[in-house]
Symmetry: C2
């Protein structure tokens, strides 16, 4: 492809409105444009990346025998009414009536529809297990779309479904799908981990989430101590998603008790009186906040941190902003007394009926001490998820405080993550759709087990960028890059020789099978600075710089975008060099 015939659509400056790095780079590098809150147009460069992810998914789905299909986005609402999800799914399900006053929804997922459609065919063809999937547009009516394509209204998903005549067959496919997901994310080059998801949500059956490391991720995962920044080490279930499953039992070894001592009026007195470590105490701070846009009645938020930590104003504000709120003030002593009847030291999470956010360091504690919201009374031996459900966990304190220690014990590493995949064993939850269809047949006594398997394709692009960028732009893994290699001819429009060689190299590479599609030549009449800035921003991993100077020695210059390594390559060795050292990637 020639840049003169392409639409780079790069932006010199970051759009002011976006705070998330991946969103900023996706706009600047010309991957997407926002048309309305949560609705994005994928430009040529962005679509090239999407298609490569799609193809890796297709190949891995094919390997485990999953068949590709295409289901409508618009679904009859009566299917959702029957499954009970028309109400249960909540406001994210977009419902509308068509011109004939019939109810429809825009599909955020397809369990009902796929069960209804396939039941007859799988049974009449006795086709078990059947694994189908589609790669198609989904819609969720998000209240507050944010973080660019990560939490958009319309997005691209791979959603797969499997049908089985027994649990063993379901478990086998579930395992194969699990393996396929690991292959997919590894091939894409993602740093990710697998966590067992809350089983309560889907009725006691198995479910796993695939979580990718992402600075701005909304989930918090505790990585195991042996993690050592090596994601490929991570084994199934060795990670914990903080917000959805309880801590391991090992943390909880004592029973909570209420300790009363009216002589205590400060933290220092508490520590000295009971001979405690300051590391075992949490304090609770009350904030007054307001929604950002609509001046709604002010509301309160509780922040729980370790007693010796210092709240970071900046972090608090950033977190509130992400949820659409602003910080009005820290509630002072008089107001706390007016609201709770207690001194500020005795504030604690258990009896405080306001939303809570917990700092990492406080979240990893066990058998800790907290206020009881009654002056002179403390809870001792408190444990999250036993005495109080662990609320949202965030990094709330000054950097120097983030140490994750717990009285000398090794602690897990806390990591912000974004969910990129989710697999479920659904059991017979949607079976009534299947049995209704075949009620008239003689086979209505069979029991069909079902699994479902999702991958968020569009958000993978954003997460990949969060994992791979530098100050100049994106650092794509070669396999996913919109173009693998760019030829940059220096002064092409004035040097006959450079133009001749550049065009001949381009033509030669263009002829290479598959690779040919991924070669770019920057033939614009632009400043050299603009060309390099654009190519680094877009993140093309490999560059060939062709200049008069190099050509006098019969050389071109190869540059690696990520390592910034430069190598001189003899022209007659070029294709060989590229094949051996670059294109095998």
């Amino acid at each position: 492809m020639r840049t003169s015939k392409y639409l780079l659509a790069t932006l010199r400056d970051s759009p002011k409105s976006c705070s998330v790095i991946s969103h900023k780079l996706m706009l600047r590098a010309g991957l997407v444009r926002c048309i309305s809150s949560g609705l994005y147009v994928w430009l040529p460069t962005g679509l090239r990346v999407l298609k490569k992810i799609e193809n890796i998914i297709r190949e891995e789905m094919c390997k485990i025998g999953a068949l590709e299909i295409l289901m409508p986005i618009v679904q009859p609402a009566d299917l959702w009414e029957k499954s009970g999800r028309l109400i249960k799914y909540g406001k994210e399900l977009l419902y509308f009536r068509n011109r004939n006053n019939k109810g429809f929804v825009l599909g955020p997922t397809h369990e009902e529809l796929v069960s209804k459609v396939f039941s007859k065919d799988i049974i009449s063809h006795n086709r078990f297990p059947l694994i189908v999937y589609q790669i198609h547009t989904k819609y969720r009516d998000e209240a507050r779309p944010r973080s660019g394509v990560i939490r958009a209204r319309e997005f691209l998903m791979k959603d797969g479904y499997s049908f089985h005549i027994n649990k063993e067959s379901l478990q086998k496919t579930y395992n194969e799908m699990h393996e396929a997901y690991i292959n997919i994310f590894n091939r894409i080059g993602l740093k990710f981990c697998v966590v067992q998801a809350n089983p309560g949500k889907i009725g006691g059956m198995l479910s796993h989430e695939f979580q990718a490391y992402s600075e701005t991720g909304e989930d918090t995962i505790a990585l195991p101590i042996e993690f050592n920044n090596n994601f490929s080490n991570l084994k199934l279930s060795s990670c914990i998603k903080f917000t959805s499953i309880p801590f391991k039992e090992i943390f909880i070894n004592e029973t909570i008790r209420l300790v009363e001592d009216s002589s205590i009026s400060s933290l220092e007195e508490l520590i000295s009186k009971f001979n405690l470590s300051v590391n075992s105490i949490v304090k609770t701070v009350l904030l007054q906040i307001s929604t950002r846009y609509v001046k709604s009645p002010n509301s309160f938020l509780g922040i729980v941190i370790r007693a010796n930590s210092k709240i970071s104003d900046k972090k608090i504000k950033m977190i509130l902003e992400r949820y659409g709120y602003v910080l009005l003030s820290y509630v002072n002593v008089e107001e706390i007394y007016k609201l709770t009847g207690a001194q500020p030291n005795f504030l604690g999470p258990i009896n405080l009926s306001v939303p809570l956010i917990i700092d990492y360091n406080a979240a990893v504690l066990d058998n800790f001490i907290a206020g009881s919201d009654v002056s002179g009374k403390y809870f001792f031996n408190m444990n999250w998820n036993k005495d109080i459900l662990l609320p949202i966990i965030k990094d709330l304190c000054e950097e120097s405080d983030v140490n994750f220690h717990n009285g000398g014990k090794s602690m897990p590493i806390m990591q912000n993550c974004t969910e990129i995949g989710h697999i479920f064993q659904l059991g017979q939850k949607y079976s009534n759709f299947i049995y209704d269809t075949v009620k008239k047949s003689s086979k209505n006594n069979i029991s069909i087990e079902m699994g479902c398997y999702g991958i968020g394709i569009t958000r993978i692009v954003a997460v990949l960028i969060e994992q791979n960028y530098d100050k100049n732009g994106i650092l794509w893994p070669t396999i996913i890059a919109p173009f693998k290699l760019v030829i940059i001819p220096i002064n092409m429009h004035s040097s006959v020789e450079v133009k001749k060689v550049a065009e001949s190299v381009y033509e030669k590479l263009l002829q290479m099978p598959i690779i040919g599609m991924d070669i770019l030549i920057d033939d614009r009449q632009e400043y050299l600075g603009t060309i390099f800035t654009d190519m680094e921003l877009i993140g093309i991993p490999h560059m060939l710089v062709i200049s008069d100077k190099g050509l006098t020695k019969g050389e071109v210059e190869y540059r690696d975008r990520k390592s910034k390594n430069v190598r001189k390559v003899k022209l007659n060795m070029l294709v060989d060099f590229l094949n051996k050292e670059i294109f095998y990637l």
Copy 2:
């Protein structure tokens, strides 16, 4: 692919509800399933065909420098309000409000959105002409979805858009796109023609439709006399779409006049008195009809045929059915007199305020004679589209009457067609979206010309089937077939030798680049009859039958699905034979 691992989803019997052959075959061959009126699931076999059409389109778009993008299906309604189409587009535009009460539409097309999104990038990068396209789902809230995927609510389209700084550039891209469409439809193997579409609809600019021959098509095209059943002969503008553009001026050479002669009371008297040819007279028949499902108040329909033609009850009923109506009765003499005050002989299209359908043979007449709806008065020298707008044209009469003669003059051939592509020169119709965006820049005095270009991808599958089937099923062109070749081992599960050879042939073909993806082996434990029935129904163009009998002679049998030709091929020559005679297709 092995049929045992695939989902054929073939049906033994035709579903009763569908009358259109392509719809019937698409259901029976397991290409699609209907989930709700106008909403279809594409099963593996159907999706394979769709993807092949998509890829041909992508290749041809790439050749003319069009860049692929992806736009959201959900569009902000304010864009449509601004263009005036929120109202103008009519009820087929699905409008909804989201949870924040903001208005959106499900995009049936994307002119507004693409103009708004791209204006800034094309102008700032000075990137003219820019041609972009997407292949994505569209939604039209059809009142009466019908003919399977041909008139569905949700469907797949290629929609392309181009931006230019002058009319010459637009015309150049328009011509290239026109050529690309011809290449696409030729490669797919469609019989089609190009007609100039009604220019009035888009304000005097140019527009062409690509119309494919289709028994059940809703459009009627007059093919030129030299057509001779050879679609590849057809040149641009040599066809006329009856329902959208006027007859050529040449037909109209006299002025209408009202002739009064109260002595005439019958057709015979009229002919003998004025020495007329019966071929120059039309008669009008009044029908009483009702909507099929809802018993609405009965309404009337006028039918205009040649005076010597005989209405076909069957055809009338079929046409009404397609529009959701049923025939109640032919209105009799007394009722006509009551309704119009005229004798039935004097009924005519001009003063009759009921919807009209015109028979082919009546539609091709010029300077003809018709009743005036006043007894004793006839209109002479009447011409369609001059004295009265030509209404819907259909084949309404008994077969023997369809002769298309007009007083010895050669007449065009009338052909039912389905629109598969449409290209428009839009001019500056959507320019306000572009100028708004760049109003602040210094370049706001440029004028941007725009073109748009659509292909209905899902309906192409149906139309292809209508052009290619026999009593056993579909006859796919090889390039589009879901699988190019099927290996049918006879008694594979009892003959060790057949199994061995079949598997080895399958493995060998599987390794072939590209072709390998399109090889099927029917390894089911099924009756041979079922296997052949399925494979012929699905329409796999090439079959290799491997049997013990053949193997004793070192042969396999090759069968051509369409011609039914059978050839014995030596096993050691098989790959060579396939490469030379089959796969080059």
